[in-house]
């Protein structure tokens, strides 16, 4: 008798499992059809690095070498010369070996002027690894193509249709929570 109840229970449990499997079809497809359908990538996501050029065409980078010092994989190489006309430096060379880069975004955090930023362009696949030894032109180009980017100092920024750089609204910013709460408090006070 015990055997029969056990067998019945086992069959019932198998049936439950089969029901779960067949019901799962209701959850729909969860696969991304990648080349035809791009995944939604959040603005803070670090998929690649880029240098930002202001709307007037000047570099944001001030060649302070902070990123070069902080990089754990030591893949950033910067060369600079003294600016003959005024203060500061002229950026001669800015290379990132994106092959060895581990996308930890330590350089982005170290940058005092938010010149080097994380972008969402994850499609760095290439036939030639040499292409990924990115020089300044490459990084500038990435920055120019990026629709939005992130740096801890200035938050999420994006380029509008006129080519001007603007900071994204609080809802998209990390840490916007506290600010939003303050605003809500003020509104409730009023």
């Amino acid at each position: 008798m015990n055997l029969i109840t056990e067998a019945a229970k086992a069959l019932r449990d198998i049936g439950k499992g089969m029901a779960v499997v067949s019901r799962a079809a209701e959850k729909g497809k969860h696969t991304n059809l990648y080349p035809f359908e791009m995944p939604e990538i959040p603005p803070v996501s670090c998929q690649s690095l880029a240098l930002i050029i202001e709307a007037d065409g000047t570099d944001r980078c001030v060649s302070c070498l902070a990123c070069e010092k902080v990089c754990p994989s030591q893949v950033i190489t910067i060369e600079r010369t003294r600016n003959p006309e005024g203060k500061g430096f002229v950026l001669e060379r800015f290379d990132i070996d994106l092959v060895n880069c581990m996308y930890c975004a330590a350089c982005v955090e170290a940058c005092p002027v938010s010149a080097i930023v994380t972008i969402q362009d994850f499609e760095l696949s290439t036939y030639d690894l040499q292409t990924l030894k990115a020089d300044k032109a490459f990084l500038d180009e990435q920055g120019r193509r990026a629709k939005q980017w992130y740096s801890p100092k200035l938050g999420v920024e994006y380029r509008n249709e006129q080519g001007e750089i603007q900071v994204a609204p609080l809802e998209q910013q990390p840490g916007g929570e506290a600010e939003l709460l303050k605003q809500a408090d003020k509104e409730s006070d009023n």
Binding site: K9, A10, D13, I14, K16, G17, V20, V21, A24, K27, H30, I41, P42, V44, S45, C46, V70, C71, P72, M102, Y103, C104, A105, A106, E109, T118, Y150, P152, L170, E171, Q173, P174, G175, G176, E177, A178, L180, L181, K182
Partner: protein
């Protein structure tokens, strides 16, 4: 096929268990679908019964410890992600705790809750990978895809906050690297609301399923004494009836404020290990809910301070990650980086037990037991 003599040395049981038949040497790995990476186990089998087992590791060795000697304290953190790449965030915590202890940094309240919630969230992610790959080991493909379906959703939440999916580089000394997204807690709660309804499905397909029970009950028995003596930790230890959980025994971050109890089972077999992990998923859901309730919504997320550690200072700190006790031993010489940092990775220690568990078992059970220990080879080889 001849096997190099060096591979066959080691303390093993040599006598065939059944009858007087020829022993066959089978190389399980390094390229084998069930070894979860590059692990080699040289098995002697007598028919289907295992007479000896010699594990070989190191195929994924990167010598992080040597690299870390030439990095500063903060530069080490991205390397830690790469140890246990299934739950990258959890690896960073013990190291941060140790450095905070040494440098006397105090973590702000809000950062503690963020770290704890993230830590538990990674436990869910890690256990999801375990469910999937373990069922794949046992021959069922479908739960694997369910697990990865839900894991992708969870990783999306991590990505929205940290910027990385598996290797986020998020925790740091004195808090977290950047503030959370405004919808962070709501994101978490929404996911948990969905996920809580899905976990019973996993249970139906795994621990409640008759075929799974047939494969797991009474298999791979690990006694309490053996487990403790071999330093086994995590769900493997708790499934053997030892209520050792560093979240309770040596609480860190926000765990002292949270209400939970250590999950144990007395059976010590593969099924108990699975059940403990399933229950831990529920526990993690509950803990994240508590964090979301208790966490302050504004305030500092990072206590900035200079990491200056005197010469001769040393510290061993451990945290209970999803696989067990991940410890970091830091020895300082007063420089900018660790003079020596040793990682006590749980998989590395848990893997030692396999000759004891394998010998005398069936070949199929070897796979079941190996999967139930839940190893990540990136962490074993470091």
């Amino acid at each position: 096929m001849s096997i190099p003599a060096a591979l066959m040395t080691g303390p093993t049981v040599l006598e065939p268990v059944v009858g007087k038949t020829d022993e066959m040497i089978v190389n399980l790995g390094p390229q084998h679908p069930a070894t979860h990476g590059v692990l080699q186990i040289v098995l002697g089998v007598d028919g289907e019964r295992v007479t000896r087992a010699v594990p070989h590791i190191g195929f994924l060795h990167r010598n992080h410890e040597k690299i870390e000697e030439s990095r500063s304290y903060a530069q080490v953190i991205p390397y830690l992600d790469r140890m246990d790449y299934v739950s990258g965030l959890q690896n960073e915590l013990p190291y941060c705790l140790a450095v905070e202890d040494l440098a006397g940094l105090e973590v702000p309240e809000r950062a503690k809750y963020i770290r704890t919630a993230m830590f538990e969230f990674n436990r869910i992610i890690s256990h999801l990978v375990w469910v999937g790959t373990y069922m794949l080991d046992l021959g069922a493909i479908t739960p694997f895809l369910y697990a990865f379906r839900d894991r992708e959703m969870a990783l999306d939440i991590i990505e929205r906050t940290t910027g990385g999916r598996m290797l986020p580089n998020y925790f740091t000394f004195g808090g977290v690297r950047r503030d959370v997204h405004p919808k962070f807690w709501q994101d978490l709660l929404d996911f948990l609301d969905y996920f809580e309804k899905v976990v019973p499905e996993y249970e139906t397909l795994t621990v409640d399923a008759p075929v799974f029970q047939a494969r797991s009950v009474g298999v791979g028995l690990l006694s309490q004494e053996l487990a403790v003596n071999h330093g086994i930790s995590g769900p493997n230890l708790r499934a053997s009836g030892v209520a050792h959980d560093l979240r309770k025994d040596q609480p860190y971050d926000a765990y002292p404020e949270l209400d939970f109890s250590v999950i144990t089972r007395d059976e010590g077999d593969v099924w108990a290990r699975s059940k403990v992990r399933m229950d831990e998923i529920y526990q993690s859901i509950d803990l994240i809910r508590q964090c979301a309730e208790l966490a302050p919504r504004s305030g500092p997320y990072l206590a900035r301070g200079r990491v200056k550690i005197e010469a001769g200072e040393q510290r061993y700190r451990a945290a209970e990650i999803s696989r067990g006790q991940l410890g970091v031993y830091i020895h300082s010489d007063g420089g900018t980086g660790p003079y020596r940092s040793k990682h006590r990775s749980p998989s590395f220690v848990n893997l030692q037990i396999i000759p004891d568990l394998f010998i005398g078992q069936k070949f199929s059970d070897v796979i079941a037991i190996l999967g139930s220990i839940d190893i990540v080879l990136g962490e074993v080889d470091r």
